[in-house]
Subunit: 266 residues, 2 copies
């Protein structure tokens, strides 16, 4: 039997939240543990690990690495006393580039050669934008952020290459500058937008049919603002069709012990 | 015969400067090609490359990677039409952790398995500090910046570990805040100081006897301010005693095509 959902998930500690997921609770993590950074997950064999880290170095906006658990490690400073095999509510398991399972526990796939990449997530800058009064359509409309493949290519690294994937948030014209200013202070979680305005220049024909996530209603006059997205490295890894790769299920993030504010510069 | 030294080295283009060094000119690069980023160099076999990149991810203040040339590559976006084997004025070659040569051309050591790490250098933020009127003692006194081993350990990564090495600049008390504010905007070149004040807390007994570089005269009342230093990863690699590792000779940097201002955030 899975644990009951606590009344106030925003006030839990990261360790309490991870324990609930470890014990079997399954749900998206938006709104959980306010003030702490949530993260994307990417787990690959050590033979692919240098290419992933090099891809991250060359594409820091789409793949901001917050931490790495070296081969076989299941815990680390971002999840003290945690277990990366069980502490995310739901995972995605890919074999030869094909999704084969969406388990809540990856222990059956685990081996000592697996390296875990913990990658920054836009939840961190969305909180900062909301604090500054910038409306976030996907949060206000209770849906996943819309994400799109673009015609911009990522910088390749070894065996990895693919398109840049972006997330889009419609912003009122009077607040576009604020949105740029605020997110530029969070380079560790995608940073400043990569594009403001005309979606066609990114090769996006129709904002209402995102490649990942959900469409959002765009108010008249709002400007579509695009940020590099953490799906980018996952897509590049999947395209290289490794024997095994593991990620988190969309919206089901790793809740880390790092505070959002730790990633603010200057 | 090596080329003559141009009258105004600050006004050269990066490509012109690299060509002079390629043709045999040997001298430190301080003051060269104003506005463009100079960089530390670290070249290792691909078998050690993941550890170096992981060390950099875990120690971003001491090892800010600006670019990586993958195994066997001798050129890349940071040195268009350049050649990493010849374009640095002087190199250091280590075999089994021991300095064996300080050549001006590393072609005799080159092989297709070598991976090149181009690492940010404090020259970039020193220029920004000077622009803001903050005096830089080592520049004013015409010497190399003093550097010290500390009792702070770097985060280990695979086979690599070692002490954090810091550089020190004495700053007038009225300008310490400016020095922090300005350098914090350059996370890609060591960023904000790691320590302001009391050297004893870093395990530094005597500022007048640095472990690397030169001592500087400290004016009465000036506060010693310490930044993480790019010698840190080099020291960690040397301690691991790889069969071959190559760096740049102190003060003899790679002059890149990236502008200093490219690294400013937000």
């Amino acid at each position: 039997m899975s644990p009951a959902i606590p009344a106030d998930v925003a006030s839990l500690t990261p360790a309490q939240a991870r324990a609930l997921f470890r014990d079997g609770l399954v749900m998206p993590t938006a709104g959980w543990v306010r003030g702490f950074a949530q993260a994307n997950l990417l787990i690959v064999d050590r033979s692919l690990a240098f290419d992933v880290l090099l891809f991250a170095q060359r594409n820091p906006k789409s793949c901001p690495v917050l931490g790495v658990l070296d081969a076989g490690e299941t815990s680390g400073p971002l999840l003290a006393d945690g277990d990366i095999r069980t502490d995310v509510p739901r995972y995605t398991v890919y074999e030869d580039g094909v999704l084969v399972a969406e388990p809540t526990d990856i222990s059956p796939w685990w081996h000592q050669g697996l390296v875990t990449f913990i990658v920054g997530c836009s939840f961190t800058f969305e909180a900062a934008l909301q604090d500054a009064g910038v409306p976030i359509a996907n949060l206000d409309q209770g849906v996943n952020v819309p994400m799109y493949r673009t015609t911009i290519r990522s910088e390749p690294a070894g065996s990895l290459s693919g398109p840049m994937v972006v997330s889009m948030r419609p912003i009122p014209p009077s607040q576009v500058a604020d949105a740029v200013r605020i997110t530029s202070r969070y380079p560790a979680v995608h940073g400043a937008p990569v594009h403001v305005g005309d979606p066609a220049q990114l090769g996006i024909a129709d904002l209402s049919t995102p490649d990942f996530g959900d469409p959002v209603t765009i108010r008249d006059g709002d400007v579509p603002v695009f940020w590099a997205c953490g799906v980018t490295p996952q897509a590049a890894v999947m395209e290289s069709r490794p024997r095994l790769a593991i990620g988190h299920a969309p919206g089901h993030m790793l809740i880390t012990d790092a505070r959002d504010r730790d990633y603010q510069v200057p």
